[in-house]
């Protein structure tokens, strides 16, 4: 058994009391609540190998966070098995959480009124990190995350991006073999997102830390993950590489060409003109029929071209299509 995470037949069902209107309804609901069962996670199985960086994708309420909570031991499943790093997360909680790192994007694990560095020192004691290793790790992370400017600032005065960097650092000081991230880039600007992605990549490739992250942001997945799992309504819809996903469901690509001079007709076989604006023409073509380079070859043989760009179909649109059209069945 070489996988670091093995999940099989995982279910989590919640009983939610039905709300009733009015004072009388409230009283009745108190006395004899009627329950609705919500299947937040409804039979999920997957494995993750050591060193993988996997994206866990899905719309709001798809069951992403519930899965993550079960993997981190916060929740006990209704049914199914979870083995992470040879342990069952919700048994022997203290031993288990010492071996993982987790950041839940919206919340901080740091002490609100303390300067960042003091929070980190407190964590050193909580995780029993040897002094030398703590020093090394902190030195390394503060450089990578560019934390020097706010190391002495109380957490409450940090910007969201700074706080996320501090939290990432906090989650990794004890050298966990696994890192769970729930929406690590939510609410951040482009620069901050990029920095965090680079850091996650670094931790994954240099330290060999296995990373599982949930996200809304498809560029996270695009730039980071070698594998993606898509979940909707508690079920896995897809598991595999991103190129594979785009190949199967990506639809048409586009080529945008800026011609050097005006041509009366700019048709080319294998592609269709979908937009024309002065010298700029946009073609659409299917990846199964023609490659981008062949198409460019045909065009440049015929016209003088100033500039061009290939536009991949947006992952976002693709994934939305998968949710909406239920293109996939659970594996």
């Amino acid at each position: 058994m070489s996988s670091i995470i093995t999940v099989s037949g995982l279910h989590k069902h919640f009983s939610v009391p039905k709300r009733r209107a009015g004072l009388w309804g409230t009283l009745k609901a108190l006395a004899r609540p009627e329950m609705t069962v919500v299947r937040a996670v409804d039979g999920i199985s997957f494995t993750i190998q050591p060193g993988e960086l996997v994206g866990y994708l899905g719309p709001n309420g798809a069951g992403k966070s519930t899965t993550l909570k079960m993997l981190t031991g916060l929740l006990v499943p209704s049914e199914g098995e979870v083995w992470v790093n040879g342990q069952v997360p919700w048994r022997e909680r203290e031993r288990y959480v010492a071996s993982i790192g987790a950041v839940f994007g919206q919340r901080t694990t740091l002490w609100w009124d303390l300067p960042v560095v003091e929070s980190l020192e407190l964590l050193q004691h909580i995780y029993d990190i040897p002094a030398a290793r703590f020093r090394d790790n902190l030195a390394q992370f503060r450089a990578l995350l560019d934390m020097d400017s706010f190391l002495d600032t109380p957490v409450r005065s940090l910007s969201l991006g700074q706080r996320m960097r501090a939290d990432l650092c906090a989650a990794l000081l004890h050298d966990p073999v696994l890192l769970f991230l729930d929406e690590p880039t939510i609410g951040l600007d482009v620069v901050a997102k990029e920095r965090i992605r680079q850091f996650i990549q670094h931790v994954n490739s240099e330290h060999g830390t296995t990373v599982l992250l949930t996200t809304h942001d498809l560029s996270d997945v695009e730039k980071l993950c070698n594998r993606v799992m898509i979940i909707d309504q508690g079920r896995l819809l897809f598991g595999g590489g991103l190129p594979h996903l785009m190949e199967r469901f990506g639809g048409n690509r586009e080529l945008v060409v800026d011609f050097a001079e005006e041509y009366p007709a700019v048709d080319v076989e294998g592609a269709a003109v979908v937009a024309r604006d002065g010298l700029r023409v946009t073609y659409q073509f299917a990846r199964q029929e023609i490659t981008a380079s062949a198409l460019i070859g045909r065009l440049s043989a015929r016209y003088r071209i100033q500039d061009l760009a290939v536009r991949e179909p947006e992952i976002e649109a693709t994934i939305r299509r998968i949710y909406e059209e239920k293109l996939l069945e659970s594996p």
Binding site: F14, T66, K69, T72, G73, L74, L75, V76, W90, R93, E94, R95, V97, A98, A102, F104, Q106, R107, T108, T109, W111, W112, D113, L114, E118, L122, H125, I126, Y127, D128
Partner: protein, 269 residues
Amino acid sequence: MAKHLRLYLRLIGVQLRGQLQYRTAFLMDALATAVLTMVGFGSLAMIFQRFENLGGWSLGEVAFLFGMVEFSFGTMDMLFSGFDPQHFGQQVRRGSLDQLLLRPLPITLQVLGSKFVLRRVGRIVQGALILLLGILASDVGWSVGKLLYLPIVLMSLVSFFGGLFVLGATLTFWTVESVEVTNIFTYGGSEMMSYPMHIYDEWIRRFFTFVIPAIFLNYYPALYFLDKPDPFDLPPSTSFLAPLVGFGTLVLALKVWDVGLRHYQSTGS
């Protein structure tokens, strides 16, 4: 164990430094807390000359009981702030409890270390002063036994009140609306325990004997210290049940707390 104690002290230390950052606010809060206690007892003391006694107890004797309860409740309120149902309920809703569950430390220790309200010192000091006043004014016939038993009773009261807080916090795993009702048992209970229990209607007294065994922690020990006869004719050893009941309540509450935590981990809400 020693490691846990050290960590607890560290966590508390962090709280203290945070609170002392805002010195003016801290002093004002501490003073307000102190004044609140003093005002309650002060009015009773001021009107006492018109009445001479309260259910047969002199002002000094009432002060003894009142001070004992105030001192213990204040101490508990400082140590167990993390379990304060109101505060804890908020933590659960905000997901802060999850953050604690992600750390490799016993959860009880972390909740205890998550909040430490130093300004309760005001109430503790006032309680101690009133207790002292009671001791001076009601001439307790001190014996070795009484000297040894007083700190034990105070610790038992702290544990007992702590147990009530833990139970209240546990209830918030099921319903946040429980908080206000819980307040009746904690704040209301301590207020009630500040006066001799025989002045209450029988049903109230029964409730605080059999359902919430408060009477063994304040009234019976006080009877022993003040050498007063027991109007309910229980055996004299009843006065020495305080540690059993006090620590027992806390232990039992922590067991229920474990059940609540398991419930939380199966519902996540």
